[in-house]
Structure formats: C-alpha cells, structure tokens
Symmetry: D2
C-alpha cells in the first residue's frame, strides 16, 4: 500500500500517522521527494482500512498494490482449480463442459425433450430455472417447487447433473439434489446469500453482475470461499454499456484476465450476453477460442413459445451445430481435447 501525503504536512502530523501505522502491524518506509512525501507499507495490508487512511487530513491519496482477495488469488494458488461435478464432468484445468437447457422449466415433457437432445449433442450439465428474477413483477416468475420437482425427475431419468438458480436462501432445502447452484448477476453482491452458500458443500456458479468489475467478481467469490466452500465457477455473461445492438456487451477479455488473476474456472454465457439466438454461435466459438472452461447456452425445443428469453434460445438442432463447431475449435487449439 502506497500513501501519498499532501504538501507542507507538519512533521508532528506525519509522526502521528507513522506511529499509528506501526500499531496496525505493518512497517512503513518513507520516500521523501522535493514536493511530496510518499509512504510505502510493507507487510500484510489486507486488513488495513484504506478508507480510514485516505480520509485523513494529511493524506492526498492511497493506492493498494496487492489484491484484497486471497483464497481466489492465483498468486497463492498457482494451479488451476478443477471443479468436479461427477465422474467425467468437470470445469477447469483443461476440463471443459457445455451447460445447456431452457431459461425456465415449463413442464416434464419440455425438460425431458430438451435434456435428451442436449445430452445427445454432448452437453455435460442441464440447466433450467425454477426461480426466475424478472424486471417486472407482472412477468412469469418460474414454477418454483413444481419446477424443482421436474428438474430432479429429469436428472434421475437422464443421469445428467443439473444447475439451477437460487434467489433466496430459504429455498435451500429444495436444492439438495441440485449439482451446481447458480447465483444470478443481480445477486452477485447479495452478500448475505453468498455467505450462506459459503457454508454448504456444493459447487456454486457465480455470474458477474451487469456493472461489476472483475475484481468485484473475485471479491464475491471470496465471500463464498471465506466461508469454506472453495468450489466456485465464475461466469461472464455480458456487462452493461451504451451499445444497444446486443442485450449486454460480452466482455470476452474477462476470460483471459480472470485466468491471470485466479485459479477458478471461467464459463461464458453467450445467450444472455447477446440476447439474440443468431449471435450465440459466433460468441460460443469465440469463448472456446479465448480459453473458457465451459459454456452456458440456452436451448429450447420451441423458442418462439418459450415463457422467457425465447429470442436468445437455440433449437436443439442449432445447439448440435454449435456444440460440434466448439469441439472443432478446441481440438484445433488443445491437441488432446475430447473429440
């Protein structure tokens, strides 16, 4: 941590700050300039209150050099984390999976049809929402308990692991047979929810918020990991910008940056990011080429009649085409990627 003092600071005020810093367990080194004095803090500064210092009268600015996330930090955990879901299904460290399925669970028949189709095309995990965050209180909010029942049924019949979103911790008992719990973009900083999910023993897929930086995403992962649950999968799903041609702006450099900063696997959701079915394939291929550890793709047997997010859903045939092309890209880049 680097503290720049204002010009013309009185010697006694500076001494006062230095002795306070010592009480915080860090050692301070001083760089005296012609116009300005800078203090470098050495030691574990993660617990130092940066706001407190920057609010002091004699301080011009404070900059943190080391990152405040620890458990998610690649510096302290150089190897990729591999999050295993079940035999043969894993994310990270070279393992790659496609999560596919409808936005919302609508019926037994719908889920069965889609599950069989995406499984045949190579999807490793089935998605489907039973609790849906919707901007309008008048929009369809999901089938809730009934949706959870359908998901579990299809899981049993097809043998596919399932992922579904949690919106409220009181629903946790319904998630017992769920293989991966999803935290949606709007809840990325619902810290009470994150803390509770840190106490359970299930992989969590954490979606990046619409206007959250990658460092904030890692801090939210840290909330879960600090509680003891280190099986976190990060998901890039587009950020909000001025551009309106796509629903959000997919930030694919997030894959490269996150692989730099953290050991956790990174999945990309081109369906929510673009909001347009015909842009899903190019963005899925781009994500695979960028090194993503997985994809999350919306598939519906009848997109025009889907109860939510129809316009961004692929048909099973379109999904099959995307999955094939993704495998080709991966095979070209990773010599021993699966066929």
């Amino acid at each position: 941590m680097i503290i720049s003092l204002k010009r013309d600071v009185r010697r006694e005020d500076r001494e006062h700050l230095l002795s306070w810093l010592e009480t915080q367990g860090v050692s301070a080194q001083i760089v005296e300039g012609q116009y300005q004095t800078v203090i470098g803090l050495v030691g574990d500064t993660a617990h130092i209150n940066m706001d407190l210092i920057s609010g002091m009268d004699i301080v011009e600015s404070v900059m943190r050099i080391s990152e405040p996330y620890k458990k998610a930090n690649r510096k302290f955990h150089p190897d990729d984390s591999v999050i295993r879901i079940r035999e043969g299904v894993a994310f990270g460290g070279g393992e790659f999976e496609i999560i596919a399925g409808p936005c919302s669970v609508e019926s037994d028949a719908q889920m069965e049809t889609i599950a069989q189709a995406v499984k045949a095309s190579g999807a490793g995990v089935l998605r489907g929402g039973a609790f849906k965050p919707r901007t309008s209180p008048y929009d369809f909010q999901g089938l809730h308990e009934e949706g959870m029942r359908i998901l579990k049924e299809v899981r049993r019949r097809t043998g596919m692991p399932i992922i579904t979103e949690i919106m409220n911790i009181i629903h946790l008992p319904l998630f017992e047979e769920v293989d991966i719990i999803q935290v949606g973009a709007r809840n990325m900083q619902n810290f009470d929810l994150l803390k509770e999910l840190g106490r359970i023993d299930k992989p969590i897929l954490l979606k990046r918020g619409l206007a959250n930086s990658l460092k904030e995403l890692l801090m939210s992962a840290e909330y879960i990991m600090a509680g003891g649950n280190e099986r976190v999968i990060l998901c890039e799903r587009g950020v909000r910008t001025f551009e309106t041609a796509t629903r959000n702006t997919l930030d694919l450099s997030a894959v490269a940056v996150l692989h730099d900063l953290t050991h956790l696997p990174v999945v990309v959701d081109p369906s929510h990011a673009t909001g347009v079915a015909r842009y899903v394939k190019p963005m899925a291929l781009a994500a695979a080429a960028a090194g993503a550890d997985g994809l999350m793709v919306e598939v519906h047997n009848d997109p025009p009649r889907a109860l939510c997010d129809g316009p961004q859903s692929l048909t099973p045939e379109q999904f099959d085409d995307v999955a094939r092309a993704v495998r080709k890209v991966r095979a070209a880049l990773v010599p021993d990627a699966e066929g």
Copy 2:
C-alpha cells in the same frame, strides 16, 4: 405495442399471429407498407409477453409504447405522493427533508453526538447502518443487533425518526421501530426482498442500482407497490461510468425524469455519489435546485476515524453549512419553503 413484421411474410403466418393476438385480449390494427407490415396493438398490453412475440419467426422487432409500470406511473396518479414519516416530517409534494447521519452505527456516544448535531442543523431523519454491504468479506460489516439497539435508543432520546438498511428479510423483526427501511443499490433487484417489503406497512427508501436505468428503478418500486405498500421513496446515488474522479457519476437529471414519470418522491445522496466530502456541498445544492424532495448526507463527528466511508463524510460543522445553503436555494426557488 408496435410489431414490425419481416419482409415477405406469408399471408397465413400473419393471420395466425393476428388470431393469437386476439386471444390475448388486445385488438390489432395493421399498417401495410410497401416493404414492411406493422401491427399496432390497442388495449392493455402490460401483460403481453413481449419476448414471446419478438421471438416469432415472422417478427422483426417489437416496441412497447406504454410503460409496464402502473402503480408508480404518474399517468395514472397525476398528483405527487407525499410520504409522511411523522408530524412535520414528509417527502414529496413540496415537502423536503434532509436525512443525515453516519455510514455505520459505531457506538451510543457517536450516534448521540451526531444525532443532536444534525437535529440542531435541521435534519429531519437520522441515518446509520447496522447491516453494511461491503465488497470485501474482510471489511467491517456493521454492528448488527447491537447497532439496531443503539439506533432505537437514540431515536427515543432525540425524538428523531430513523432510517437504516435491510440486507436480509430474516432481520425484519429487528426493524419494528425503524421509521424508513432502506434498500441499498446492490439489492435494488433482489426481487424476493422487494416482494416481502411490499407486504409490510412502512415507508421504503429504494436506492437506484449502480447500472440500473430509471425504468428499472420504477419496476423495482412496482414490485413493492404491487404487494400493497405504496409508500416508496426513490433515491438517486450515482451510476457507474468510465469516470474515476468521483466514486460514481451522480445523475441529477434523474430527479427531473423521475418527477416526469412517477408521482413518488425523489431523494438524492451526494455523499455516496461523489465519495468525496468536498464535493458534497455543491452536489447537495444542485440537487435542491433540481427539485429533489430530500437529501441523504453522511455526517460523522470524526470522519478520519469513521469505520467506513470516512472520506465522504462531513463534520457536523460542515453539515450545518450545507443545510443552511440548501435552505437558501430552496427559499429562492420555492417562495414558501421553510426558512
């Protein structure tokens, strides 16, 4: 709602769409162009699934003309809502209040000191956080139950109404003596929380999310109002942009736009918006001049030692100066505004 069809749509597909629209209780009128056909929907289209239509093969685009919010909509409720907190304290319809206090409740003495000071300077409501949303799990998270106890004590001793933030609906029993419940920016789209707050009988101050549009803010207010609780106060506290000179970018035109779209009162928080104490006064004055129905200002008796958000807190003396200047601006613009 306006539906534009693609070129060269087959007559039967168009008829199929038209008959489906009739089943939805709206009437469709057709504008036939040289290259393109457009369908205008007449009637109550709030419950029509726009995504469903825009996903249909023959549809090029769909645009909504009327707004999907009803209870918050000024069109259906032309007069300003006045949210009364207690005798002499109200927001909206010409009534203006300043909410002041520290970011976090720290101790009985701190709250007592600040409350007496801001009361003397004319603040109508006392703020103070007991549950704090923090980006890092390692930062101070608030005093929780102990903080709530302190708040209530100070409320009794000073007679000031209090506002404090809720992060989890399970804490609701602790909020019984709270006068206004605050929903923070990060929870603006925590729809389960909003629904629960729609069932209680207390004013809610709803902060705009960092990257949420004003229409989304109104839809979130609608979640609360649809449940029966129509006492919602909106709060602009800055949005996230590329600019880093201030913590967020205060969008003061939100005051004018919201007054146009809704009858609900609008409060501005210049402390969180700018993140810098010396910018609070100019932005507080600007908000008052723009017609805001209130302000929310952070005040701390010892900002450099505040446990959170110190750099943006005013001292009681600075707050007194701001409150005086705000009254002058209001008096200049509203002939019969209070002194």
Copy 3:
C-alpha cells in the same frame, strides 16, 4: 511516480533500471518490502514515458501521482482564471454568463429575433452553428459561409458577442469576428485542430467528449494552452452511459471536480446533455447551484420547426423564465451576484 517491481527481481536488473532512471533526470528512492520492492521517483516526471517503464520485464505496475497537465493545473495557478470576452462579459472567478441561441443559424430574421429576445432576458453571448457535426451524412450540415455572414451581421446589429463551432481549421479565416470559438465534443481529441487553436488569440470553449474523462478534457485544454493560448473555457455537456431517458447523462459533479483540478472556468450545457426541453430548467438551476461559471442554452423562436435539435430548444419565453430563476439561485448563494 511509483514503480512496483515484480517479486524475485535480480539485483543487476534492478540496478540497471535505477541507473537508467537517473539518466532521465529524476531521483529514485527505494522501499524494500518483504515480498515486493517499490521505487518512488522524485523530480519532474511529466516527461517520463510511463508506458516504457510499465513494459519492462521486471516491472509489475507504474502509477503516476502528479498530474501530467501543467498549464491547466490549479496547483501551479491557484487563482481562478477570468476569461474576459468584452467589457462586462466574462467567465470565471465569480463572473457568470449565459450563452443562448439556436442550434443552427437558419436565417437573418431567425437570428435577429432570437438575439433580441435572449439579450433582453440577460444572455451575455449569442450562440448559433454554421458548421454542424451530424451523425448522418444525409442530415442538415449548416449554412456554412452564409451562416457565418448572418452571425456577424447580428453581432454588429445587437452588439452581442458570438460563439460558433469550428470543425476544420481551413475555415479559420471565417472566424475573424467570432468572439469565442467552440470545439465540439466529437473534436475534443482532434489534436491537430487543438494545436492550431493554440496558436491564435481568441477564447476557446472546449466541450467534453462523450466518453472522455475529466483528466482527458484537461489534457486537451493543455494542447491549446501549450501553444500559447491560455484562454480556454471548459464545457460539460453530458457523457454517454446506459441510461436512455436523457440523450446523455449530465455529469454535474464535473463542475466541482474541475474547479478542484484547474483554474479554468467551467460552463454547463443542459440542452445537449438532456436533449429534452422540459429538463433544461431544472438542470440549469442545478448547474448554477453547483457553482458553474456559465450556462449554454439552446433557444429557438419556433422549436418544432428548428432544423436541428428542436426537441431540446426552449422558446424565448421559457428561456426568460430559466434566466430569472438562475439569477435567483445565484443571488441566494453569492451575496453580490448580479440581480
């Protein structure tokens, strides 16, 4: 400037860097930490190539502490600059003016009518565009030479100083009788244009680009000032965000931040920022209350028929109302502001 080295840097590489830094005329001081070494540079670092250093193998990051703008910097020029246009018309240091007029110059009659009206209402400078930057090549681009002729005529007849936009330096001979030359938002980083304007002896009003930071705005002012022309007026006119309720998002905190960083006057344009006539008044009042040194307001005698930007133009009557209210706000805040 602060340079953080990577871990485990070899002693000789570090020595190599230190000796190179000395050749650059700055002195380096070293802070040796447990894990990391930090170098503080003392002296004039404005000419040091930050990119060069941050690209070095052994360097983790580089941060600049002092600002790279000099002539615009308040640190080296503590008093407000007052830009005098003519006797009784000035911006900055307590002097405040309203610039008013139509988006485009359309005819002698139109300019005469509007000029007389806004002058009567207290406007100090007349605006009107003869060269118009338009997104579409098929939109009206201004009257060019004919527009310049009309502007000068009205200037002579009414005695009002005029401001108009330059888009191409080859048009400079046409600007001889212009009192203030405007650089539009899209040309804020047209550095060749800025350099040329640095060589002339006329006040320049420099508009902030749609997605430019305040520091970049100051660097663009520095381009003009470095050439010798120090009479620069800055103009905030809204930045681009995700919000669509207004054409741009007016960043009023820019007024406070710029007054902090620079001695140059700051003018606010609420017409372009909001794009909606009925939001101009509240934002003009807010700008005045925030301490702006002037306003720029679009006024048209027949807004619905204006050849560009009609929806954001005020009628002369509406402008008169705004100008009166602005004076009231200023009188309330600045005891000796004009009536």
Copy 4:
C-alpha cells in the same frame, strides 16, 4: 417510421400533421387506439427529419424502423464486399488478413526488422504510425514526414502493402503510396475528414470510437461511401466501460452484429482493445473464431523500448505463435481456409 401522438390531440392538429407528412413524399397510415393514436409512415423515410417531428407539440414519440444508412446496409447489398489490396491480399467474403507492425515508426532498421519478421509469419499488411494521436501534448507524436519516408522504403524493399493513420487531411499528399489509410477511433466522427476520404480512391480502415455505437460506426462509413469511396474496412478496437483490468473492453459481438447489418469487412484489433500483450493471443483467437475478416496486431522487436504502447506489443516470436494458432482456428472452422 412510427409516430405516437399524445392523448387528446385535437382533430385539426392531427390533420395538419398528416397533410404535412404528405408533402414529404411518404404516405401515412393511422392506427387508432382506445387511448392513443399511432401513425405509420410508408415510403423512403431516410430523409425525414425525425427531430422535427418529435419536437411537435402533439407528438409523444417517434421511432425509426428502417436504418438511416444505405450504402453500407446489407439489406441493399446482400453479398459480402471483398476489399482487395493487391494480388493475394484481401479482406471480406472469406478472405482474411493479419495486419501487423509497430505502433510507431521509429527508424529504418526497426521497420525493416519487424516487416521481415511479420511477413515470414504470414502477415499480409504492414502497419506503423507516423502521425500519432496522443492524449498528452508532451508525449511522442510520431516522426511525421520522416516516418512516411521510412514506411514507403520498407514497402518497396519488402513488397508488403502498408497501412498508416491520417490525422489531418492536409497530409494527404504524403499518403500517395499508402495502400490502406487508417482513421483512428478519436477521428471516427471527424466528419470533415471522412468526407474528404470519400473523394479518394483508396481503401479506408475506419476504427470504432471509444463510445460509439455500431450504428454510428456505420453512419461514419456512410459518410465515406456517400462520397463515392465504397472500399471501407471496419475495425473493432474496444469500447470504454467501467472495467479497468483491460485498457478498453473488446466488444467481439460487434463482429457478429456488423456482419448482420453490413456487407463491409470487419477487422479486430486485440492489441489496443486489451492494452496488455499477454491478452492479445486469446483475443486474436476469439476474434478469428467469431468470424472476423482480419486482425490488426502490434508487433515490436523490442517492446520494452517501444516509443509508444510498448506494454501491448508482441515480440516477433510471440506474433509467430499467434499467427499459427489463428490459422489453426480458421482451418477448423473454414474447411478451405489457407493452411
């Protein structure tokens, strides 16, 4: 174009609008709703002044359905444009090229070394800046005439076509032997420059502005094309967002959206978009997988000593690795792409 009228519009005002619309050469069709009347305009509405209509008293809103760009529009030109630079070097319609070279031209030796290296690795076009737009007036601005001389020399010696940026139309005579003229992001809406480039007979590479929408990019291309020069190559190079981990946020969905909207080729610049050398490879691969028609990559023989943008430059060895991997991705997706 769709015009929504306000409620309770008088019959005569509506008739007045309708007869005016007829004089504009479009036919109007009316949809009469219970609360609202909507008018659909049929015919060529590109020249209709949307602002004029939306400013009328009786109009609530106006929406354009067809796009205002014509020459760049894929609807009127369904086949991909192929921009041929010389025998064997082309962009679009399946043709793909990598543009490579340093940010700035520094010396004969530097350009010769880099040109030979990137040519050997398969680059089709050599880049290098002689006129550099820099945020600070105190930064290196390019070698100007001397840089142009070096570029042309290397072009002759290596036989590679060259691309370089123009900042001011008065420099055009220096660009005679240049194969592609680049318009930088900051000049994307320098309309006077675009108009001049529309009159010459050379391919133009037009970079997207930092905060410009894809529709605005197409309107700027239209400025060039409207003048007669239809050989425009579009370039995505990142947009400005709140994220600071990369210099800009690369919007790769722009490739898919632009291929949808226009027949012009689309090139991606991962170097400027990310600003970090180690993120260039994943983003180059992603761009190729997304279907880009080319790449623009910064390569320098000695990145730490590059006079500008060193941190984002690849070494020739790194570039060779990127070019090989890009070919593999393209070969996997395009069966007959070059080896």
